[in-house]
């Protein structure tokens, strides 16, 4: 079943059109990779799906589980199961990571009409997940992402993903800034979340990540459109020949 349907999406930022009619369908259980040159609109797409303000959708639609996503506030989208692992996670001084995680998880559960986690249950869950991601407990006492290294910030995004158990995970360049070991740990974390009910959209510049998180479909984005889609071999092709051949198509 289609989980995410982006149809002929046109998006402007500050009077300039960035996405020029983008179409993308992601089914439950699938892993999609999106590759494309700098500035082609990959992060813009992920932000519009998550509901970041400042983007004007001038045409097209986004359906999530058949519902109009663009009508929902960002927190409603999160509660419905949309999760974006940010390319550049922000630092939030003064908000302890643990407090943030618990507040966010319980806000989502409340919005879905589920009961809040008790403190011991929550702590147990965080401990399990952070252990598997090699995140030390004392990191969780610090402000959200404050003083985290680039790699630690990315792992913190995967931690949240594992904790919130979203049905759609969008990973925007989760591999940037990760060393080889950290990449494997993070990718293992992502793979552990693969399930027949959950879909992933992996935005990356590098084929290497796709060796760890093997996609079902690879899309090439250029100048605000999906210009080619194919199997995982498409990523290898791109690695060998670059984007030049697609620039014209766009």
């Amino acid at each position: 079943m289609a989980l995410l349907e982006v149809k002929d999406l046109k998006v402007r930022v500050e009077e300039r059109e960035i996405l020029h009619g983008l179409t993308l369908t992601v089914n439950e259980g699938e892993v999609h990779a999106i590759m494309g040159p700098n500035g082609s609109g990959k992060s813009t797409l992920s932000h519009v799906i998550a509901g970041k303000p400042g983007y004007e959708v001038t045409d097209g639609q986004i359906l999530f589980k058949g519902e109009d996503l663009l009508e929902m506030s960002p927190d409603e989208r999160a509660a419905k199961g949309v999760f974006l692992a940010f390319q550049y996670p922000v630092e939030i001084p003064g908000v302890a990571t643990m407090t943030f995680l618990r507040t966010a998880l319980n806000a989502q559960r409340k919005a879905r009409g589920e009961s809040e986690y008790s403190t011991p249950d929550f702590l147990k869950k965080v401990r399990e997940v952070s252990k598997s991601l090699n995140i030390p407990q004392d990191m969780l006492k610090r402000g959200v992402n404050v003083g985290f290294s680039g790699g630690e910030k990315k792992r913190n995004e995967v931690l949240q993903m594992a904790l919130f158990e979203p049905s759609l995970c969008i990973l925007d360049e989760m591999d940037s800034g990760l060393d080889i070991d950290a990449l494997r740990i993070a990718a293992d974390g992502v793979n552990a979340l693969r399930s027949p009910k959950r879909a992933m959209v992996v935005i990356t510049h590098y084929q290497r990540l796709l060796n760890y998180i093997v996609p079902d479909v690879v899309h090439v984005m250029s100048k605000g459109r999906v210009v080619k889609s194919g199997g995982k071999e498409l990523a290898l092709e791109l690695e060998a020949s670059g984007y030049a051949q697609f620039e014209d198509a766009a």
């Binding site: 509901g51 506030s73 927190d75 509660a79 940010f86 996670p89 908000v95 966010a104 806000a107 989502q108």
Partner: protein
Amino acid sequence: MNVAVAKTGNGRAVSDLFASAEGRLPGSPDVIAVRREAFETYERLGLPHRRIEEWKYTDLRALVGEVLPLAAAPDAAALKRAAEAVKAHAIEGARKLVLVDGVFAADLSDTKALTAEVGFRTLREALEKDSGLLKTSSTDAVIALNAAMATDGVVLSIANGAQLSAPIQILHIATAASASSFTRSRVAIGKGARATIVESFVSAGAKAYQVNDAVIVTVGDGADVAHIRLMDDAADAANVSSHFVTVGANVKFNFFNMTTGAAVSRLQGFITLAGEGSELSANGVNLLQKTEHGDTTLVVDHAVPNCVSREIFRAVIDDRAHSVFQGRIIVRPDAQKTDGKMMTRALLLSDEAEADNKPELEIFADDVSCGHGATAGALDDSLLFYLKARGLPEKQAQALLIQAFVGEAIEQIADDVLREHVIGIAERWLERRS
């Protein structure tokens, strides 16, 4: 009550305030003479207004207009309501001293639980002998008015070396609507003593009342003191409070003020570092909404060498509220090696919110390290979006960021129970946001 409303700037009407209250004002004939003189000073000056430099941002004539008649002494029904408020606002484990509408309420207080190291009298009792309690070096009109009208207060003297494990909480409870209460307290802390004093201002259902409080604190050498003031008066009340603090040598003095209530308020603190080697940490938070006006004015006077002062002030201003912070650091000519810093930040939650910040350094010594910094701005949209993208609704996301913003000041409170109590008051303010 059949008392004429006092008008400012109009001598005849103002006199009624004092004349009609005189029968209720405690004190020996000497004390009454001091009161009369103070009242004459007040009459001459009237309420402070914008042309008085220290009151430039808080024009009491415009904001308050008139001083309301003295509140009647609380009756049984008022005391019953006050008892409920005491229950709701008491700090766990604290020794409570309760003033209801400006009158000490023995039955609601824990005077019997005070240890022998804590000398206690009411102001009323103390004034039978001592008129000095009504005198300060200030020439401020509201302080003169306080000296003239103070009906009661607590007079505490903490013995040298006393190590008080329980905080002393002075609760000011308002039950009378459209009336004024005037209180004055003195806290003398002995050498080497350790004590925590908390002042809480709350309403037991009273509306549109006025509070004028003064506190005189002296801290002996080597003492370690936390002084916390929590002003959460009714949304249409006015509260003007003045602190005079004199700190001895090698003292650790940790002051914290939080304003979460009153339509018009001002805390003016005058802290003199009079002994070498002392460390002052003076911090404050203003949480203001609707059309509230909250003024925190701190004057830190480094009178001697080798003291450190640190001030962290945070204001969160919503709707059409107005926050004022005036921070003056004075370094006297021989106060060498003074280290004084002040950092203020304002968070504006609405386009119509207003923050005035007036830092002043008056430095007369040459070998010092002093500075101040200030910022003002809105909530960071990228942080808000991050939180919302993780499922927090707008208001909750804002609340988390606001708590983080004021956290740096609140964190200066060392005691866990007190800090949680303060955070609880801040959380209730957040819940009141429309």
